[in-house]
């Protein structure tokens, strides 16, 4: 396991640098959407995105979850069963999007995948590739079976790979991660992932290694396909470009470098109303490891549940109230509306 120095931080140090608690400038997202005459109400709940916990075999610089090998927050069986119950009784929810931490390290992961597939749900797994080789950092349990498990249950696999070359990838995710990621992708390819006609979808995620906006998605995807194909024989379906969210570990790094205001100004100046209209929180709900409901994974990580009056927990699920809620917008929402937009599925415009 190759970890970065940042993993030595305590849980207390891993808490967010909030604008409220410091003299950092504030940015008004609600004012921007009002000036753009946008009414960003929820449209549907097509996707249930669940964050099953913060345990991870890596501790990446950009991680908005502050995940790492020392984190102990984890979804329990009771919450997992409630999620499956909600999926079973709500056919309008088509997709279960599972993230973490490294979600496969959660004890409930395999069971939830199996049950959700029985219900005919489409399953997305946010897979970091290296967990195949590192296994569980606490118990030592091997996770080498994952590619076969994903294929057996027809999971769509979405893997972070910050660049098609070693330097940027290892800088963000830790020494040796690029080579391990290549090995992990080859194992997925060997099972048919990323290959036409197999029905096994393998998507990659690019996010900038630093305080800058992503390049154009189509252009980068062509580069990734050429470079990974020619140098390593790797195939994949789509590349998603995602903007770094100015919260938690990434925000702390911006503040430390004195670049928080400049980065936020860049996001605000790049505000794109078209991207804002397609912001992902309008068609999904996010569930924390303890069942708390939020508008998105980023709000969830800042302990911002759905607005007061709407259900606060999966145990209080009420579709009508959730759809009638007002989405909680804060400063980091500019990350989803900058340039071509950003979501867990890449650009939005």
């Amino acid at each position: 396991m190759n970890l970065k120095v940042i993993d030595n931080l305590s849980v207390e140090e891993l808490t967010d640098v909030s604008s409220e608690a410091t003299s950092l400038p504030r940015f008004n997202f609600n004012k921007h959407i009002k000036e753009a005459e946008l009414d960003l109400k929820p449209l549907s709940i097509e996707t249930l995105q669940i964050n099953v916990g913060k345990l991870c075999n890596q501790a990446c610089l950009h991680c908005h979850v502050d995940a790492g090998p020392k984190r102990t927050e984890a979804m329990d069986r009771r919450t997992a069963e409630k999620i499956v119950e909600i999926l079973a009784t709500h056919p309008e929810i088509k997709t279960l999007d599972i993230t973490g931490g490294a979600p496969e390290l959660n004890d409930q992961f395999d069971w939830m995948v199996v049950e959700a597939r029985k219900l005919g749900k489409h399953i997305l797994v946010r897979h970091n590739l290296t967990v195949q080789f590192d296994g569980n950092p606490v118990t030592g349990e091997s996770k080498e079976y994952l590619p076969e498990f994903f294929a057996e249950h027809q999971c769509e696999v979405i893997c972070s790979l910050p660049y098609y070359a070693e330097y940027f990838t290892d800088k963000q995710r830790g020494r040796g991660v690029f080579q391990k990621s290549i090995d992990g992708l080859k194992r997925l390819n060997d099972l048919g992932y990323g290959k036409e006609g197999t029905g096994l979808t393998l998507n990659l995620v690019y996010n900038p290694v630093g305080a800058f906006l992503p390049a154009a998605q189509a252009s980068l995807e062509a580069d990734y396909k050429r470079e990974l194909g020619e140098k390593f024989g790797i195939l994949f379906n789509n590349l998603y470009t995602i903007t770094n969210m100015p919260i938690h570990r990434f925000k702390r790094d911006l503040v430390r470098r004195g670049g928080y205001e400049e980065y936020m100004t860049k996001l605000v100046n790049a505000f794109n109303p078209t991207a804002a209209e397609r912001i992902m929180c309008r068609t999904m709900v996010s569930v924390n490891y303890d069942g708390t409901l939020s508008d998105c994974d980023f709000n969830q990580m800042q302990d911002r549940p759905l607005e007061k009056g709407a259900p606060q927990s999966i145990f209080d699920w009420d579709t009508e109230s959730i759809l009638n809620r007002r989405i909680v917008f804060v400063d980091h929402c500019f990350g989803c509306t900058a340039g071509a937009g950003s979501s867990c599925g890449g650009t939005t415009s």
Binding site: Y167, F168, F212
Partner: protein, 111 residues
């Protein structure tokens, strides 16, 4: 004025149109068309050329701006460093090739 170069001044570049808007508008339209669009050269290639030129003319504003725009066009530090080497090599070569004039001078005096 504490310093001739202030990094925040880069964001004020647009104010150059304050007393001659028409000329500034023409400049920025041409500048953006030349540097920031996909053409026979990709946008990334144009940003790497811009970075190389920025180092040749040693403009701090340009180096700052093109470092960012190279990254935002998908370039990585290896490509960017190679671009700076191209600029430096051409610039160094321009000095060195004048050594031929020195050789001519040496011939002229029989040295």
């Amino acid at each position: 004025m504490a310093h001739y170069y202030e990094s925040k001044d880069l964001n004020r570049f647009g104010q150059i149109g304050k007393h001659q808007k028409e000329l500034a508008d023409k400049f920025f339209e041409w500048y953006n068309a030349a540097t920031s669009t996909e053409g026979a050269l990709t946008k990334r290639e144009k940003q790497l050329i811009g970075l190389a030129v920025a180092h040749t003319i040693q403009c701090p504003y340009c180096i700052d701006a093109y470092t960012q725009s190279c990254l935002e066009s998908g370039a990585d530090p290896t490509q960017m460093t190679e671009a700076v080497h191209v600029a430096s090599a051409v610039r160094g070569g321009a000095s060195l090739v004048h050594g031929v004039q020195m050789l001519n001078g040496l011939d002229k005096v029989g040295a």
